[in-house]
Symmetry: C2
Subunit: 318 residues, 2 copies
């Protein structure tokens, strides 16, 4: 099978090239990143977050983001996302031609200060300025602006985070002109009951079309259980990372993001079309492992393989 | 907190002492097994499958099952289960005083022949004889007989398994006098949509009170996602294994059962009471690792620890 991005039920959004690479010490050569992006796009992955527009002195691993956006936007049918923590980053994203820009807004103010050195009030000012900067560009080239509510399920610094605050911050971000908000379990604290509650509450507050995606970590092994809750509530974009690369530096030994290979297997086996060929995805994984020989990749499908007689979702109509 | 077995929402049934130990080459000393059982019982685990009544020449790892049942039934409040593949094993289980006997009935006849050297017809004859043997004992001492439908989600030898056959075999087992049937994903092939469908169909066929438990493997990382589907369908007993010990010899490198620690964290964090203290469970895990230094234990909560500010289900009423 091949990618059929027009008819997927769930959009698997690969973030390993950003969330994964920023959490390891190795700086992956730009050519290896391009091979990774090309391999996943060829496997049918519909969206990739290829980097982050942050100062190279802070994250030298991602210094080549502009070049990667240029490369990735040249690949047919791939939605190209980037992260930008501030107005400067959004301007760089606009110049690069990225299709989507994700802005991290930590629900925990302590984490916000640690992560982007800004209070909530300062972040909201920044978001207003980002919306203005994007609006100044030509309409056809305007990227979608998603405000990603980091630490929405709890914070390693503050502990539990009030759900009322998550909802209020989602409302504020939409009022300021963000196209969408996303829920992000930065710390791997989330549980399925919480995913359900928060998704329902944010949907009720800003509309279901303003919250379609979720970013989950597998720090405590709950990633795919949380995905089940997200699907039940109608979310249609799930972030994940090839080999589970990335994650939380506060949880040594625990893996990072939901594993793309295991996620695609979950979705396809349940009859939800992703457009992704799992064998091709596993080949992409092999390429990443070869380029990062010192990094441990996670995931189960890569070890166990596909079940005998496995059928993709909608296989009968292919 | 301590075990409060009378008020759990979900019964976590530890099978590592059976499913785990039969899948590794090391023969764990009986005293170490007793420490394991005692430690999990003290942590609040309400049920444990402590062994299997199979010939010691086939599974020398489990040759001490009778002694372990005697030990475990002496622990306050613990439900003690054993596996028995045939009438001989059920007689041994009766003599041992076990509270529950689980009989594996492979939905794949190829697997049945490989596993217990019996056709379906022969297994049904055996089940009828087991029911008779149990009925002959004093009513107060009668163990519950559960027929566990192995390979219910697919077989490594046959591939996909017809769902009609799973349902028909469940009906037959109940007709013959089994107290309950269980669904068992022996091969780690199952997905949540399948868990939902099969549970609904078997419930419709034999009644919800005749199917309350499920045995899931994590071979492809789908264990807790499948648990979510099982909970949605009202199942209340979930098998799991400390450190994910056990599993399928046909999937090298992949882990085995759902990890008890991660399962308890899932349930408690969702507000479902298990009666289990996670810190005490992690201490039990450390004991098992010390007794099995060459075995790899799986699971995420053991590495990541509990979230800052974590609260058990019903913590406010403790």
């Amino acid at each position: 099978m091949g990618a059929d991005r027009g008819s997927v039920d769930v959009c698997v959004s690969e973030v390993g090239t950003r969330d994964g690479l920023q959490n390891i010490d190795t700086v992956m050569p730009t050519d290896a990143k391009k091979r990774w992006i090309a391999a996943e796009a060829a496997a049918g992955v519909p969206e990739m977050e290829v980097g982050s527009f942050v100062p190279a002195r802070l994250l030298p691993q991602l210094a080549d983001t502009a070049e990667l956006v240029e490369f990735a936007t040249g690949l047919s049918g791939l939605s190209v996302a980037v992260l930008a923590p501030n107005l400067h980053g959004v301007r760089a994203a606009l110049a690069s031609g990225a299709h989507r820009v994700s802005v991290p807004l930590s629900v925990s103010e302590t984490h916000s200060l640690a992560n982007v050195k800004k209070t909530h009030a300062q972040m909201f000012e920044e978001i207003a300025a980002m919306v203005e900067a994007i609006a100044e560009g030509p309409p056809a080239a305007r990227p979608a602006l998603e405000v990603s509510l980091s630490t929405a399920f709890g914070c390693t610094l503050e502990g539990p985070v009030p759900e009322d605050r998550v909802v209020a911050m989602a409302e504020r971000a939409i009022e300021l002109g963000a196209d969408e908000v996303g829920l992000s379990d930065t710390t791997g604290y989330g549980n399925p009951a919480q995913v359900r509650r928060l998704t329902r509450r944010v949907h009720a507050a800003v509309g279901a079309d303003r919250l379609t995606g979720i970013h989950l970590h597998n720090t405590r092994g709950q990633g795919l259980a949380n995905v089940m809750a997200a699907l039940d509530e109608g979310l249609t974009t799930i972030d994940s990372s090839l080999g589970g690369l990335g994650g939380c530096p506060f949880a040594p030994g625990a893996s990072g993001n939901v594993v793309t290979e295991d996620l695609v297997f979950l979705l396809e086996s349940m009859g939800l079309r992703t457009g992704v060929d799992i064998e091709a995805l596993l080949a992409a994984r092999d390429g990443v492992q070869a380029a990062l020989p010192d990094e441990t990749l996670y995931g189960f499908v890569a070890d166990a393989g596909l079940p005998k007689g496995f059928a993709y979702a909608g296989a009968t109509v292919d």
